[in-house]
Symmetry: C2
DNA sequence: CAATATATTGGGAACGTTCCCAAAATCAAT
DNA sequence: ATTGATTTTGGGAACGTTCCCAATATATTG
């Protein structure tokens, strides 16, 4: 049909060898920076040939032979959430610094997609996996045979490295902060996960109530999906209680911000009528009115640390047992909290 | 040293063949879904063997043979900006839907990194590239020999597909909106790019001024870097003018939001004392106080369209000349603008 | 200078697929 | 049963590297 011109196929190591008057073995050595076992002159000659031909190494062929792809997969539940963007950046910067590329899979809270990505990682022989598992279990992860790190702190993954935040402690501290301001009826907008991470917050809330001898009032806990609509609905529910809370802790900033907006719509003043504390400290938290007081997580650092773990494990320099790096949270006081007027 | 157990090497197509009592060719055919030329029974037998051995195809080997990787690279200047997160999501969703993985490279406004990513794409024989070029030129892009789509509308890339927003028209409309509200002194916070995209806005501003016979006052144009600090500085500069503008158009929402915050810090009321219009409509724009009026871009859709172009071009189903898809902007009126009191 | 050690190099097998082509099996028609 | 067409299968050469091992060139020593 159309006289499709043959795409000028890229030069291979063999073309380079020919041009430099050496064998492909030698070229390969130069390519790998094996400075010890190749004479400087030949080295030069090869380099010249490479430049002249515009040769680019074929990573595919290399990977096939070495069984290393220098690529890892990141599986996060929701890249649209700035929280994960930040974690991703940390991971990516660190991985790239060590010569790895990062493929990011957006799980989108869909269990099917999650295991789909796992398969992709397997087929493509990725060197590592960083994942915040929503539904995937330990055995499936280990069955891949690929070095793995978990983003977040989870039970039930004994042999796997984990990097995350101290959500339990952070939640406790956030609640203590409100308590110290005189709040005794504290609502809890509880983002629902299928698995533990939400649970740490829940646990902390329960422990807090017990420890301070507050009356356990289950109507103060509302469970909602982890999105904007969830936050709005949560606040709505809490405020329409016959005895609404004077303060609210939300599982994350997305929920907290939405809650704050809904409060405003209902004519309830923040922090005058109700105080709000969020968690994560995502980028938009600083620009709401009032700016959101929140328990900040070290997002970028979590990503970096996870990458570090992963790199070591890939290199086989990690201990058999799983390590965990738990970074503390830190309260960022802005304008969404005030002393209770009770 | 340590008795490292041999990792149980994955089964290959040959193991499957052996188990099913057929040749590797036949297994390969089954794998590729070549339903026409393999007898249903053998097909079944192979499928059984695959399941039994837990075989996973080696995409690397496959790629080496077929010269197709089913992977594309996205190079964006700043993934932390929610604008790019959205575009990325659109691209990713569409690409994944067609069986492609997406590697995202965060250019971080660093020209060196940008061409570094290009090299990576080349070495890994990625099937496609989607890029918002900040410094890279057309020839370098074409020299890769990889099908490419540009995110955004640019001059100087004649043969390359582009998907983006009508920034020129959008800017014009935003300014017209302010004009209709009675504003005659309109400031322009001009995000600096090395290349055109900022320029479309600049051009529009200049044309607008001329067309409406406004006095060309260069002190109303401040050029700043494309980040939060830039926005704050820009606003500061404009407000300290002896005759400050009554309205400001900012190149994007990051700048606009920062500008708004700086105004508030300086005790200048928005929109009472100064109106502000942004561009992009990123996620945080809705939660500022007042919420930001902005010229919305169809971020997700741009990503989808770019993916579509790329997929077609990879398949060789695209015309030789570059196509362009220009999506219109749409004004989202929120609370940061008010009629001029002049 | 011979003999040995050491620094460089080259040849070829392997990695796990795909794909061409030929071989074998099946079917249809005489 | 024979021929020919058609379906289904198998064998082996690629793809572009790396890496082992052997071969050669060079340096060192007596």
């Amino acid at each position: 049909m159309s006289a499709r011109q043959d795409p000028p196929s890229r030069p291979t190591i063999i073309h380079v060898a020919r041009a430099a008057g050496v064998s492909k073995s030698t070229v390969s050595r130069v390519l790998q920076g094996d400075t010890a076992s190749v004479k400087p002159e030949t080295r030069q000659a090869v380099a010249r040939a490479i430049r002249k031909l515009g040769y680019e190494q074929n990573a595919i062929a290399s990977s096939l032979r070495t069984a290393r792809t220098h690529t890892v997969m990141l599986i996060a539940p929701d890249i649209a959430n700035p929280f994960w963007s930040e974690v991703t950046r940390g991971l990516q910067d660190t991985m790239e610094h060590s010569g790895y590329s990062v493929v990011v899979g957006n799980g989108d809270w869909d269990p099917h997609r999650e295991s789909q990505f796992l398969k992709t990682a397997q087929r493509n022989r990725f060197d590592g996996i960083a994942i915040n598992p929503t539904i995937i279990h330990c055995r499936e992860l280990r069955a891949t045979g690929i070095p793995t790190v978990i983003l977040g702190i989870r039970d039930g993954f004994p042999q796997i490295d984990m990097a995350g935040s101290d959500t339990y402690r952070g939640t406790l501290d956030a609640l203590a902060y409100l308590y110290k301001m005189g709040h005794r009826r504290i609502g809890f907008i509880y983002g629902r996960y299928n698995t533990d991470p939400g649970y740490a917050r829940f646990q902390a809330y329960a422990d807090f109530v017990k420890r301070n001898h507050l009356r356990a009032d289950s109507s103060l806990i509302v469970e909602v999906p982890f999105d904007r609509a969830g936050g709005e609905r949560g606040m709505q529910t809490l405020l329409s209680l016959s005895k609404p809370p004077t303060a609210v802790f939300a599982s994350n900033d997305i929920l907290a911000i939405a809650a704050m907006q809904r409060a405003a719509q209902l004519g309830v003043k923040v922090p005058g009528d109700v105080s709000i504390v969020g968690m994560d400290d995502i980028y938009p938290a600083a620009m709401t009115t009032p700016p959101l007081t929140t328990m900040a997580k070290q997002k970028y650092e979590v990503g970096c640390q996870a990458a570090q773990f992963l790199i070591e494990r890939i290199a086989g320099k990690a201990p058999r047992e799983g390590r965990r790096c738990v970074l503390p949270c830190r309260l960022v006081e802005r304008g969404s909290c005030a002393p209770s007027r009770g």
